[in-house]
């Protein structure tokens, strides 16, 4: 039985774009604040529901809806950090883990109250549209997500590398006290970074709503997969996330040639543990080593 390898690799690449998009927020918040954002799943879910309201109830264009959604969540994220998350910034890690987990539960309940537990799907004229390339059909929605993944990577790199705030964010993540000494308003930096992380999560959610059916429980499996990607990528690097997504997606796709598809996720989690133990720098660490040599 011969599987169409090129087709498999193409879909894996598109999937990598999805993985990356849904993981940037997680990586950014961890990188800057060393906080594991368990509410990431809740934000993605809320992003999906808000997109649903915009697209289904208000008739917005599915690809333009995120333009409205992302700024809303950016502000939400900033407020969340300023009034709540800030207070556990220097507490032991378990505090932030549980705080954000609690927030996730609250977010779920609000969704249950507003939308009931019914599974929702968004069907637009773009839903089944494909782009044909050499006998391989590419879903337009997934292609858009892929490009957003690349765009986000480029924009984030430029932001972190060239702008004042970006550099301030990197400085704060390296050494908070030293940053304060050189005059960086670290409080503001944290707010912005957290806001961005939340905004990225909502971006992912609003786009994924076009592809997947969702309910208030949505996001859990994406969050868990997100950990695999972020760890693979090196936990703190945006480029790492992109690389990690690519490696993971391709590994998963190729693995079906040898193992049961049902065990694909096992591969991801096993990789998570192995990479953490053996290669803490992840992909970014490897690239760094490669560059240095």
């Amino acid at each position: 039985m011969t599987i169409d390898l090129p087709a498999l690799l193409v879909s894996a690449t598109l999937l990598a774009g999805l993985y990356a998009t849904m993981s940037y927020g997680l990586a950014l918040i961890y990188g800057v604040m060393k906080i594991v954002n368990l509410a990431h799943a809740g934000v993605m879910m809320w992003g999906a529901y808000v997109a649903f309201v915009f697209i289904v109830n208000l008739g917005a264009n599915p690809f333009l809806a995120p333009l409205f959604i992302v700024p809303i969540f950016f502000v939400f994220g900033m407020l969340l950090q300023r009034y709540i998350v800030r207070r556990v910034m220097f507490a032991p890690p378990i505090s932030s883990l549980l705080l954000l987990f609690g927030m996730w539960l609250i977010m779920q309940n609000i969704s249950y109250l507003l939308f009931s537990g019914d599974t929702r799907a968004i069907t637009t004229k773009y839903t089944l549209m494909t782009f044909q390339a050499g006998g391989i059909s590419i879903s337009i929605n997934r292609l858009v997500v892929f490009f957003v993944g690349i765009l986000a990577l480029v924009v984030l790199r430029q932001f972190l590398g060239r702008t004042y705030m970006g550099k301030a964010i990197r400085a704060t993540s390296q050494d908070g006290d030293a940053s304060k000494l050189v005059g960086i308003n670290t409080d503001r930096v944290m707010e912005i970074a957290f806001g961005m992380g939340i905004a990225l999560a909502s971006l992912a959610g609003s786009l994924m709503a076009l592809i997947f059916a969702f309910d208030p429980d949505f996001g859990r499996s994406h969050l868990l997969k997100g950990f695999c990607i972020v760890v693979l990528g090196g936990l703190e690097s945006v480029v790492g996330v992109a690389l990690g997504s690519l490696v993971l997606a391709i590994a998963e796709a190729l693995s079906v040639l040898w193992i049961m598809p049902a065990m694909q996720d096992f591969v991801s989690f096993a990789l998570l543990v192995i990479v953490l133990v053996a290669m803490p720098g992840g992909m970014a660490g490897l690239v760094g080593k490669f560059k240095r040599n």
Binding site: P92, I94, S95, L98, L99, G102, V273, P280
Partner: protein, 354 residues
């Protein structure tokens, strides 16, 4: 503590009354017998909570993958029981299997610090669940391992495993109530003993500053792994009890992420790193949850079922505890006690002055 002092202290008598109450519950008929079920579940969860606390509270290694031990304990007992081994006999084996598994993944992972370890445990928990879910399909084509299948079933995959129920299930449940209570006290004793021992001292030292502890001569690797193995053993036994009481296990329930989270939440809500914290947390988890899931508030014409808000209440509780009292409910109690004392002293001082 001199015996006379113990006898005179009100705390002793109060605790004794509490113990008698616990022993009497099955015969009290409170809630038509529901209190006995709640009691059993509370005992079970106290065991889990206390066990997690040894690794997470005393040693400071936060594990989000403890469900892997729970599940292994449950499955070991079920698999052996279905092959004719007496279920009660399987309990120490269940604990041992879980403990061994702890060593296998613990040894490499415990080298990781703080958040890294926590994230790794998430991976371990999920990987274990998936492995057990697909175990039957994985080994059915392997000539070596095929023999473990009984009618094509080892773990039962997604279907899970069903244990036969005993003829007199009420007496059985009663026995388990007392059995679980006994095991709970055993677990608490172990936790208490660890806390007072040199081992425990080493764990607390590792928690505070692992490098300093290492410098002082604490064999941190050995201690950490031992703590994990002990914790795993206790949780494994918990899983075994669970399987024997519910008579049905499936991978999503016993290996699932929600189970791991529950084991983190309970000691944290109650008071992480203390002896009594896990107890308080387990009670809150079981009893308060029961109330929330089933209570109905009626304000005039407005009827509100609290269960539609249970996630909100639970999440809200977590958020409040983390923000305002990270030491959990126990910390809250101590703060209130101090405040009460201070009021007393100031009151006395005011009296003296006037």
């Amino acid at each position: 503590m001199p015996a006379k002092e113990v006898l005179r202290s009100w705390k002793t008598w109060v605790s004794l009354a509490g113990l008698i109450f616990l022993l009497w519950i099955p015969f009290s008929g409170i809630g038509g017998g529901y209190l006995q079920t709640l009691g059993f579940l509370t005992f079970l969860y106290v065991i889990l909570s206390t066990a997690w606390n040894i690794l997470g509270g005393y040693t400071g290694q936060i594990s989000f993958g403890h469900a892997s031990f729970y599940g292994l304990g449950a499955y070991t007992t079920s698999i052996l029981a279905l092959r004719g081994v007496s279920a009660l006999m399987t309990m120490p084996i269940a604990g041992a299997v879980a403990s061994l598994y702890g060593l296998v993944w613990g040894y490499p992972c415990l080298r990781l610090r703080g958040q890294y370890f926590a994230i790794a445990t998430i991976g371990v928990g999920e990987a274990t669940r998936l492995l057990m879910l697909n175990m039957d399909d994985l080994i059915k084509n392997n000539d070596l391992l095929k023999g473990f299948l009984q009618e094509g079933v080892l773990t039962g995959g997604a279907t899970g495993l069903m244990l036969p129920t005993p003829p007199d299930i009420h007496a059985y449940a009663l026995g388990f109530y007392y059995g679980a209570m006994g095991l709970m006290f055993a677990a608490l004793f172990i936790s208490w003993w660890v806390k007072r021992s040199k081992f425990g001292l080493g764990l607390f030292a590792i928690n505070m500053d692992i490098d300093a502890a290492e410098t002082m001569g604490v064999n941190t690797v050995y201690y950490k792994n031992l703590a994990l193995m002990l914790s795993a053993f206790m949780v494994g036994i918990g899983g075994s009890i669970y399987a024997q009481y519910i008579f049905y296990i499936d991978p999503q329930t016993v290996f699932g992420f929600p189970m791991s989270i529950a084991m983190v939440l309970m000691p944290t809500i109650g008071g992480i790193g203390t002896l009594a914290g896990p107890i308080l947390g387990a009670v809150v988890y079981i009893v308060v949850q029961d109330r929330i899931l089933t209570a109905n508030l009626e304000l005039g014409a407005l009827k509100l079922s609290l269960s539609t808000l249970h996630l909100l209440i639970y999440g809200g509780l977590l958020v409040l505890i983390v923000l305002f009292e990270p030491k959990g409910l126990l910390g809250l109690q101590k703060r209130l006690a101090k405040w009460w004392e201070k009021r007393g002293i100031e009151g006395a001082r005011a009296k003296r002055v006037s």
